[in-house]
């Protein structure tokens, strides 16, 4: 039972970080990325392999060759996660530079979908990289009593992510992202480099996905293409849409409701012995229906995006003297 609760907690944290990352990317920046889960997978692979050590039987062939050059592939704990984030970030730059070139945004989104399908097939077929369809397993936990300590560690990472995403959301940077989401043309007309912002938020979101992936594999210990089929991306979209696009608290709520709730609710459905695949299928169909339903009935989600506030600026509207202020503005007097 304790193990079950630990699993749920880690799963929740993993989905919450995934959701927060996608919320920055799609909710704030308006960059639609159907390859989002690919970066989660990359994070899991890199985080797993760097933690595995030099175990000949488990480490994929390519990495064994890297060992032969005495390069550091086996890393101590926080570095495994960081390396996952860095690798995903570098890969994001490459993908983003190509995908975000597209003038029509939906072409770019379509391309992320193709990138995902291609990489999925490729990683399965090219066994040297990540052991193909077999995947990696036996990843050791970074803490001695994972049942107790791993959820706590995971919550720590969630706290860091929460603070980071919160700072980004409430900052002028987040404001520019929102403006680009709403009207990219008008944002460009005010001097904002739209492609630059989109690329940065694409990378930022994908790095968070990788963090989440590295976090999950540290607990479950195994990872293969079966764990990251294309429909998994839908779960994350569902989390953001159900929770509330642009609202971080809503997204964390969404992670609990959709990510953990629906996953676990179907466990209690009566099993059909003749068709063991039925229950997982029901879960996917349910998530699809919920996503479409929310987009129709409550497109802003359970907790809609909040208005911007400046609580740290203490002045009230109307605290301005009348007169020709424009002149002062021009001269820069108002700045003092």
């Amino acid at each position: 039972m304790a193990y079950y609760i630990s699993t749920l907690l880690v799963l929740f944290v993993s989905y919450a970080i995934l959701g927060l990352g996608l919320n920055v990317q799609y909710g704030l920046g308006g960059v639609l990325n159907f390859g989002y889960y690919l970066f989660f997978a990359i994070g899991a692979y890199v985080g797993g392999i760097t933690a595995l050590g030099s175990d000949k039987g488990r480490v994929p062939a390519l990495f064994q060759e890297i060992y032969a050059w005495n390069l550091p592939v086996h890393l101590p704990y926080p570095l495994t996660v960081l390396s996952a984030v860095v690798v995903a970030g570098v890969f994001s730059v490459g993908v983003g530079l190509i995908v975000l070139r597209s003038v029509r945004d939906d072409f770019g989104a379509l391309m992320t979908f193709v990138v995902f399908l291609t990489m999925f097939t490729l990683i399965g077929a090219y066994a040297n990289l990540f052991n193909g369809y077999i995947g990696i397993s036996g990843v050791p936990s970074p803490v001695s009593n994972p049942e107790l300590w791993y959820p706590i560690l995971a919550l720590g990472w969630l706290a860091i992510s929460w603070l980071l995403v919160g700072a980004v959301t409430r900052s002028p940077y987040g404001r520019v992202l929102k403006s680009i989401r709403e009207r990219p043309d008008a944002a460009a007309a005010l001097g904002k480099n739209v492609r630059h912002y989109r690329l940065s938020v694409f990378i930022l979101g994908n790095c968070m996905a990788a963090l989440s992936g590295a976090l999950l594999i540290g607990f479950i210990g195994a990872w293969s293409p079966l764990s990251w089929q294309e429909a998994e991306t839908l779960v994350v979209f569902s989390i953001v849409i159900v929770g509330g696009r642009g609202n971080n608290l809503g997204v964390v709520l969404g992670a609990a409701v959709v990510g953990v709730g629906i996953n676990e609710a179907v466990v209690f459905l009566p099993a059909v012995s003749s068709d063991p695949g039925l229950i997982p299928s029901v879960q996917w169909v349910l998530i699809g229906i919920i996503t479409i339903g929310f987009l129709w009935v409550r497109p802003r989600g359970l907790l809609p995006e909040r208005k911007a506030k400046w609580p740290w600026i203490d002045s009230k509207p109307g605290e301005v003297s009348e007169g020709n202020l424009l002149r002062k503005l021009r001269k820069g007097e108002a700045r003092k």
Partner: protein, 271 residues
Amino acid sequence: MIDDLTGGAVGDDVSNDGLEKEPSLVCSDVVKAFGGLRAVSGCSLTVRKGEIVGLIGPNGAGKSTLVDILSGRVHADSGSIVFEGRDVTRWTPYRRAAAGMIRTFQLNSEFPGLTVMENIMIASQGHPGEKLGPVIFQRKKWRDHERQEFSRGRMLLSEFGLSEMENEYAGNLSGGQKRLLEIARSVMAEPRLLLLDEPTVGVSPLLRPRLLEHVRDLADHGVACLLVEHALEVVEELCDRVIVMAAGRVLVEGSFDEVIADEGVRDAYLS
């Protein structure tokens, strides 16, 4: 960047006389064709600092396309655009805007899901908080800047009579208020050249003088303004010089009275 904008010709030197003759925008022989249709065919014009130039002409004369070309949204097939001595023909829209060429749009272009205050703040130029690094590592730095910009935004909102709406979503404003917001946003961006595409459309007659007063005020402080406008009474009242476009090229150029008296202009409007 910020020093560049505030310390430039606009902020320091507000006397009109010396600036009158200095050109801000020079556009020469600009051509743009869509498919087989020549929307702009060999258009040349100059806007000087502190001057309000009206751009009028019948529908389909190519005025809006020209504004799109000047702001960089559409690339010209040939011709050149020089802004304050720099050739900006190949520049992207954001780069032109950051250099001080600010435009407004013919259709509403407020950010509907952002509050009025946010809409204003977006226009702030060279804000350190708009970069990811300072957001995470230098909170004090960007917050100091934000505080200054915020009070500037407050003043602008009060100037434009939008103070009450400060915390309202911009999408909920009336058509005229959206226009005012857009002009206020342009002022916030500290323009050196303002391209106004039909700014008075949808603005109530009560608010209109206020809007025009602001444009005049900007020009008095050395900002060059190019104003595309259908309402001739606005052009007459506001513009120092009027350019008439027809069929993608400049037909006549001169004072309002000269232009209106021109036979060719009448023909162009009637045909």
